[in-house]
């Protein structure tokens, strides 16, 4: 074809095109104007008008518009030429394409072109499908097996319609080829028209995207998974790009931080506190090396400003080129975990502190070995804390109990038990153990609390003893005791309660006492209602009742009067008592004797008045000093003698007397002894005191303990008797006796001496009557001597100044000696002496010479009154604690009157021998006094004409106290200088016996 022809054809086409445009415009304008008219409007600017207006303003644009319209027409012309010419050639080319699927169809989709590439990929041959199969047959997408088989004709129609409506139709899908393989195809379908725009067919061009689709599928699946994880993960997942802006923000992150996804995407993360670096900044080096960092504990900020502890894991993300494109950050809320950990730590710490602070030993053992213990445990057993670790728990009990403990641990015993523990040093003590199982370090273990109960044991023991003691005390009380509960029922009672109420302990507990049927009365005899009993009152009011007198009357029995105390027992904080203790004493006898007591009191009062009068009338000064050394009373004479009033001393300490006494009597030990009572300990004493101020006086004082009828001590009584006058008389008498002794004895000495010389022939032979007369002189001189001696003895005895020794005396020997003394006289008268001694006589304590004097006097008396040829019978025998001596004569005997006087001084029985009897008349009175001074008795019995018998009884051990025998006590060493008692003490030192010599 030539260029010109082409241009020609182009011109034709342009003309046609212009004509069509003009026609369309004319039509459009007509329609437009018609519409304006129909709307009732003025025909205005039409399309063309505006168009022309536009061109008229810009004349050049019209030229362009015209050119473009002509150019377009030319292009359409040229394209049509080319298609016509290259059609066959193109078909061959397409047919040969091996890499590309090219499928041509007719207007109904039936294949008329099937390229090599299509054959290879789809597995069908061109000949096989051409004219037979539609494009849908070979390219249908794979349905799922469960899907209904695709309606291919419908699919084909839809497909072709779509391709015609909006060419080209691009699709990518998966289908099954002839070999049954899944393949992916990307295909573009376009309709093909001929020159006059008639549809002549479709052409589909595609290529194999099987690999890409598979990859995409895999990616899609992974992505779905990741998306699911991302959306549903319980942890916050955030991604940030290289510039730190948030790219992903999952729901968990929303929940965790309160920011919605749309609020944070594309922003710097709002959760990183300003003062903290991001995780990426922190671990940049590691992250960029490709490491994943995990478990970074940081704090993040919530939308509401609160802080949240999170644990972060982070990793870098890379793009396809391997460059770092951002970071993914996983955040886990660890607030709870931290709190739980903190609580656990705290709990552990608390337990540890508790265990350390505990006095109880705490020990944890695993498999019987100690893995944990507190200090108290170690201390309890005497170990260092480190030292107990690893030891067997059985080392801490006594070996004999170890098996028992092992069994308890084995059985995981949870009941507390007591056992005997062993310290490091081997000593043992009682403990209480409470064990529990627990998990320790993931393994089974046992924790045990060990408490030292040795104190408790001791306390229990003490309590038990204490209870026993109180029980004993309760039982030993004379008071009745009842413990009653709030209902009055007896919980405990003692023996006295049973005795007083005459109810056995069983009867007491059977019903609240007193039993039904018993009546109770008041002191005035009226009824004593039960609800007014002290027990009831104490229980009702909570107040104690004291000393309530109540009569208890069992049916048909006498009244028992008791005095009752009731004391309630209240628990702290409780208003009413729980129990009541009732104590009572039996006052029946007291009640009965009250009247008698009143009488006795009145009588005693009378007696006291009388006694007081007597005491006051006494010539002796009397002073009663009590046990506590206070003056109890004194009599009127005392106040007179010592110039002191009763008020001054009664009730005062006896010491107030000391000063006065010292002034009056001088600072003598005797004075002090008298006041403080040291000389009257338990027995009476008697002494002389010389008053030196204000006048010289002498007192005889008695100090004697005062005891009641039942030997209770009331103190001591001091009696002062003024003996000044007595003592003066006594001294005169003594002086008189001395004078008499001297003045009578001196001449007697001469008389006796010279007579003796003559009778002994010292001055020549004395014969006949000379000798008789000289004998008479001598006898009378002897008689006078005896009389003087007897008179002196009587004088001494009567003045109480006779000295008595206290020595063991052999009475038998004394009697025999006395008999020998008078043997000459009895022999002279032909009298017989019979001695009868029982079993050997025991020694008697006494003064030998004085007892000798007694026997001499009695034997002499018997001899004198026994007629010549008569008999004197002397017997002696022991009778219990006495020795009894009887001296019996066969004399004329004594009348009753004579017997009554026989011991009187100067008495002589009248009888025919009276004239012959030469005696002083003092022998028997002296004998009686001496016997009595020995604590013995002498008596006489006689029958006229048959003789007389004297009976002497002497105690083996005469009482010493109070008797004048105490004159025989050892003398003071310097009696002369002390001047006390005028030297009446004796000492058994005389080589001769003065008493005997006196009567020789």
């Amino acid at each position: 074809m030539s260029r010109w022809s082409k241009s020609w054809r182009l011109g034709v086409y342009l003309t046609v095109a212009s004509a069509i445009v003009a026609a369309v415009y004319a039509l459009s304008e007509a329609v437009y104007q018609a519409e304006l008219r129909a709307l009732g409007r003025q025909p205005g600017f039409g399309l063309i008008d505006s168009f022309i207006t536009s061109f008229s303003d810009h004349p050049f644009s019209f030229a362009v518009w015209l050119f473009l319209a002509l150019g377009g027409a030319a292009a359409v012309f040229l394209l049509a030429q080319r298609v016509e010419r290259g059609d066959e050639r193109l078909r061959a080319f397409l047919q040969s394409a091996t890499e590309t699927i090219v499928i041509g169809t007719d207007p109904h989709g039936v294949i008329d072109l099937f390229s090599r590439g299509a054959e290879q990929l789809l597995g069908y041959s061109a000949t096989e499908v051409s004219g037979r199969q539609t494009i849908v047959d070979v390219l249908s997408p794979i349905g799922r097996t469960e899907d209904p088989p695709p309606d291919r004709s419908k699919d084909l129609a839809e497909l072709l319609a779509t391709a015609r409506a909006a060419p080209p139709l691009r699709r990518e899908w998966t289908c099954t080829n002839a070999m049954g393989e899944e393949i992916g195809i990307a295909i573009s379908i376009s309709p093909v028209h001929d020159r006059d725009r008639t549809l002549v067919g479709f052409v589909a061009v595609g290529n194999d995207i099987t690999r890409r689709l598979r990859t995409l599928e895999a990616l899609r699946q992974t992505n779905d998974t990741l998306k699911t994880i991302f959306a549903s993960a319980p942890v916050a997942i955030v991604t940030r790009d290289r510039s730190g802006l948030v790219r992903n923000w999952n729901p968990a992150a929303e929940r965790m931080f309160g920011w919605a996804e749309h609020e944070v995407l594309g922003t710097p993360s709002p959760i990183i506190p300003e003062d903290e670096p991001s995780a990426y900044e922190l671990y940049r080096d590691r992250l960029e090396r490709g490491e994943v960092v995990t478990d970074i504990a940081v704090t993040r900020t919530r939308r509401d400003g609160s802080r949240i502890d999170v644990s972060i894991s982070a990793a870098c993300m890379h793009d396809q080129a391997g460059r770092i494109s951002g970071a993914i950050i996983v955040l886990q809320d660890v607030t709870e975990r931290n709190r739980a950990i903190a609580e656990l730590r705290e709990s552990e710490e608390r337990f540890r502190r508790l265990a350390e602070a505990s006095f109880e030993g705490m020990v944890i053992s695993a498999n019987g070995r100690i893995v944990e213990a507190n200090r108290a445990y170690a201390r309890m057993f005497g170990y260092e804390l480190d030292d107990v670790m690893g030891r067997s728990v059985l080392e801490f009990v006594v070996p004999e109990l170890a098996p028992q403990i092992a069994a308890a641990i084995e059985a995981k015993a949870t009941e507390p038990y007591e056992t005997t523990a062993r310290r490091k040093d081997g000593t043992t003590f009682d403990v209480e153990v409470l064990g529990r199982e627990l998990r320790y370090g993931g393994a089974e273990a046992r924790v045990a609390a060990v408490r030292d109960i040795s104190y408790r044991k001791a306390a229990e023991q003490a309590l038990s003893e204490s209870e026993q003691r109180y029980r004993t005390i309760m039982e030993s009380l004379a008071e009745g005791l009842l413990l009653q509960d709030a209902g009055g029922w007896v919980l405990a009672s003692n023996e006295s309660a049973s005795e007083i109420l005459r109810l056995t302990p069983e009867q007491l507990t059977r019903e609240p006492p007193p039993p039904a049927g018993w009546t109770t009365i008041r002191e005035d005899g009226s009824e004593f209602p039960r609800d007014e009993h002290p027990v009831a009152v104490a229980l009702r009011t909570g107040q104690p009742c004291s000393d309530v007198v109540m009569g208890i009357v069992p049916p048909g029995e006498p009244t028992t009067w008791i005095s009752v105390n009731a004391r309630p027992i209240c628990e702290p904080g409780e208003a009413l008592p729980r129990a009541v203790v009732t104590s009572f004493v039996d006052i029946t006898s007291r009640k009965v004797s009250e009247a008698a007591t009143a009488q006795a009191y009145a009588r005693a009062e009378r007696e006291r008045s009388v006694n007081r009068a007597i005491v006051d009338a006494a010539s002796e000064a009397l002073l009663l000093i009590g046990e506590d050394d206070t003056v109890v009373s004194c009599n009127q004479r005392f106040t007179e003698l010592f110039q002191i009033t009763e008020q001054e001393i009664v009730g005062k300490s006896a010491d107030v007397l000391s000063t006065r006494f010292e002034r009056m009597f001088g600072d003598e030990p005797a004075t002090r002894d008298l006041v403080d009572g040291s000389d009257a300990k338990g027995h009476a004493s008697k002494r002389l005191l010389a008053q030196i101020w204000p006048i010289a006086r002498e007192f005889e004082t008695y100090s004697t303990p005062v005891t009641g009828a039942e030997s209770q001590s009331f103190g001591r009584l001091l009696a002062f008797r003024d003996v000044t006058h007595e003592r003066a008389v006594d001294r005169m008498k003594t002086e008189f006796i001395s004078l008499v002794s001297h003045e009578l004895r001196t001449p007697l000495t001469s008389i006796k001496g010279y007579v003796d010389l003559m009778l002994e022939g010292e001055v020549g032979q004395v014969r006949g009557e000379q000798r008789d007369f000289l004998e008479i002189v001598r006898n009378n001189a002897n008689r006078l001597t005896a009389l003087i001696n007897d008179l002196l003895d009587v004088s001494r005895i009567e003045s109480g100044r006779i000295e008595m020794k206290r020595l063991p005396v052999d009475l038998e020997r004394q009697i025999r000696d006395a008999v020998e003394c008078i043997r000459p006289q009895t022999d002279a008268k032909g009298q017989r002496i019979v001695l009868e001694f029982g079993s050997p006589l025991p020694a008697v304590l006494g003064d030998p010479s004085r007892l000798m004097q007694v026997f001499l006097n009695l034997v002499d008396n018997a001899q004198k009154y026994t007629p010549p040829g008569g008999e004197i019978r002397i017997t002696a025998a022991r009778q219990q604690e006495l020795v009894v001596v009887t001296i019996a004569d066969t004399g004329i005997g004594l009348s009753v009157e004579e017997q009554a006087q026989v011991f009187s001084k100067f008495f002589r029985a009248r009888n025919r021998w009276t004239s012959e009897v030469r005696g002083t008349g003092l022998g028997l009175p002296i004998a009686r006094s001496l016997v009595e001074l020995h604590g013995g008795e002498i008596s006489v019995s006689s029958q006229a004409g048959q003789g007389t018998a004297f009976r002497i009884s002497l105690p083996l051990r005469p009482a010493q106290a109070g008797a004048p025998l105490d004159a025989g006590l050892p003398a003071r060493s310097t009696p002369r200088r002390r001047g006390r008692g005028r030297a009446e003490r004796s000492q058994p030192v005389a080589p001769t016996d003065p008493a005997l010599k006196e009567r020789a």
Binding site: S741, E743, R745, T746, K752, G753, T785, A983, S986, A990
Partner: protein, 128 residues
Amino acid sequence: MSGRIVVADDEADIRRLIVFTLERRGYSILEAAAGDAALDLIRRESPDVAVLDVMMPGLSGIEVAEALSSDPTTAAIPIVLLSAKGQVAEVQEGLRSGARIYLIKPFTPQELAERVAEVLAERGNPSN
């Protein structure tokens, strides 16, 4: 029997009785009628025995005896006291003065002679 004896008694009758009795038994006697005279005599003569009455004018027999006992040159001379005082205390006082014998009046000449003989025998045989 020999020996020199001082006899002191203010009662001439009794002194004579004593002197007579003792001279009859062969003793040589020196007499004194008062206590102080007796003391001088005894100190001068150093007799074998002194027989002294207690109740004498001037020094009593007891005072003479005490003086003799307390003097070493005369302490060895045995003394026999004669007295009408026969109470125990009086006897004891006499014996405490250093006298060997206290003879209560009335005594018999025989008794006195025996006592003096005893004293002289003891003196001749001190071991007794």
